[in-house]
Symmetry: C2
Subunit: 344 residues, 2 copies
Amino acid sequence: MRIAIIGFGVVGQGLVEIMRDKGEILRQQDGLDIQIVAVCDTVKGSVYHPQGLDAKLLLQAIQSTGSLDSYPESAGLVRGRDSVSTIRDTDADVIVEATWTNLETGEPAITHIRTAFHAGKHVVTSNKGPVALAYKELKSLADAGGLLWGIEGTVMSGTPALRLGTTALAGCTIQAVRGILNGTTNFILTRMEDGATYTEALAEAQRLGYAEADPTADVEGYDALGKLLILAAVVFDHPITAHQVSRQGITHLTPQDIQHARAQGKRWKLIAELQRTDDGVQARVAPQMIDLAHPLAGVSGATNAITYVTDLLGEVTLVGPGAGRRETGFALLSDLLEIHRISA
Amino acid sequence: MRIAIIGFGVVGQGLVEIMRDKGEILRQQDGLDIQIVAVCDTVKGSVYHPQGLDAKLLLQAIQSTGSLDSYPESAGLVRGRDSVSTIRDTDADVIVEATWTNLETGEPAITHIRTAFHAGKHVVTSNKGPVALAYKELKSLADAGGLLWGIEGTVMSGTPALRLGTTALAGCTIQAVRGILNGTTNFILTRMEDGATYTEALAEAQRLGYAEADPTADVEGYDALGKLLILAAVVFDHPITAHQVSRQGITHLTPQDIQHARAQGKRWKLIAELQRTDDGVQARVAPQMIDLAHPLAGVSGATNAITYVTDLLGEVTLVGPGAGRRETGFALLSDLLEIHRISA
């Protein structure tokens, strides 16, 4: 399997680290031999070699100089291709789309993925934008070309939230989906339970790297909303747009609210929720007081969780990491393994 | 897909109920058209029709008379075939093995499954015995014949515990597995937390049908032990025998023990646990005090849960039902869907 990686930030590097550390195990245990033929990043540079690049040297180049320009020279190495040319004109079988997430336009990822499918190449991505905003178009394009599109990492990083809903629970009717889909806000709420104010908890989350300097996307529920768009399209086969989702963040919650919940044997969680209705899907993101006996109540810190409410099994809940370099790198790997299984 | 059902107790009937209620949806949504050609039960009788049997009439016969002998007569209907002949001499593509679990010998299920593979037929089963005791032999037999063996229902009924460990987490190294794999004991422990004594809680579990008249298999940890044998063979590819598992039940736990745990912010759970070691696998079933912050601590009542401890994702926990008529019926259906996907 020959892959080209578009975007060499945390996620792309996470995947290459896994391949450096586990390439041999993957070959032996899973029969999957991955060759990285190209890595292209608009800022960090671009390298392509039809005979393959070395995972260790790619990481060394980035870690020592921050740029792929320091990747060692060799006969046949091509530098400077842009992303579209890397996708279209190299001999990769699978494109790993790992550029930044844009929940307004989905670009440049949508263009990258469209280009890949038009060029007859499989795609794996952990980028929420294209799945949240253009699932139907891109999935149809993939299907028409007999191509696969791996998107497991778009909801809970490597925790297989989508595979659970689409494959493992196939045959069940899923009536609702409820989840803790944002680790930053769950960390803040957990710290507030321990006695911190919202401001203190946010500052700690920022110190630990869980929250951005501008925390709006997390604390106002936009990140969780993006994941609901993905779940609506992928699990319910019913795409919706952001303005169809009622959204409330956690910024208004006070220590008094936390106490009030505790007194009732409950706990605040930022819940992202989809419900099947007679004429479609109802979606909302809002803090909810969850009974301590419910599996979602026990999910603490930056951990994520998702509950599927089904006709045949009742509730099934999956708990695991929702972010992280290795975790999201693994999501991409698990999609590559799936492509390997299906096309083998 | 033509199936023969061997054993028509709760689980077999659960599958037929799902097919009666959701057959049309399965045809439309999943492209899976299941025809029941034979049902054979040593006590309840045996019917076979090459053109297929009617799900509704099968259930009516059992519910009204307790016997398949009252299934309506029709041209071409064959009665009275035994299980081996039903497996070998009918034109079913897939054998559903749903006889009683025997964790001593695995019979008659092992013979049924061996016969099916020798006859070139796929098998799905929720029967723990053959997987706990003869996984390697039967899996080799299936592989040699290019046949599939669905076993999802053997650990947590329809909750996809095995698919999570074997497929969805493929690429991760699983270092340990920990689970609440017996609903009866978890129900008893939950009621003891609410203030009941062990004896009161057991009596309630028996009243509700969660516990047998002789509760030994559950409360002494034998059922959970059987599931560890399955996980060792299937997830760790390292079969072990019952005497390699250290086993302790919950019968000695007192209200004082429960209080003692609570005072430390913990909760007793009967934990079944596998750990990779340098020279194999270490396995034990024992009550453990679990920290309230851990996802397994929040699993209450008859619900089951399993935690995989992995290198790339840390802990991933799946929570869902671990028993039940529809739930186990769904496990068989999900295996049939998998066979349909793979052989399509």
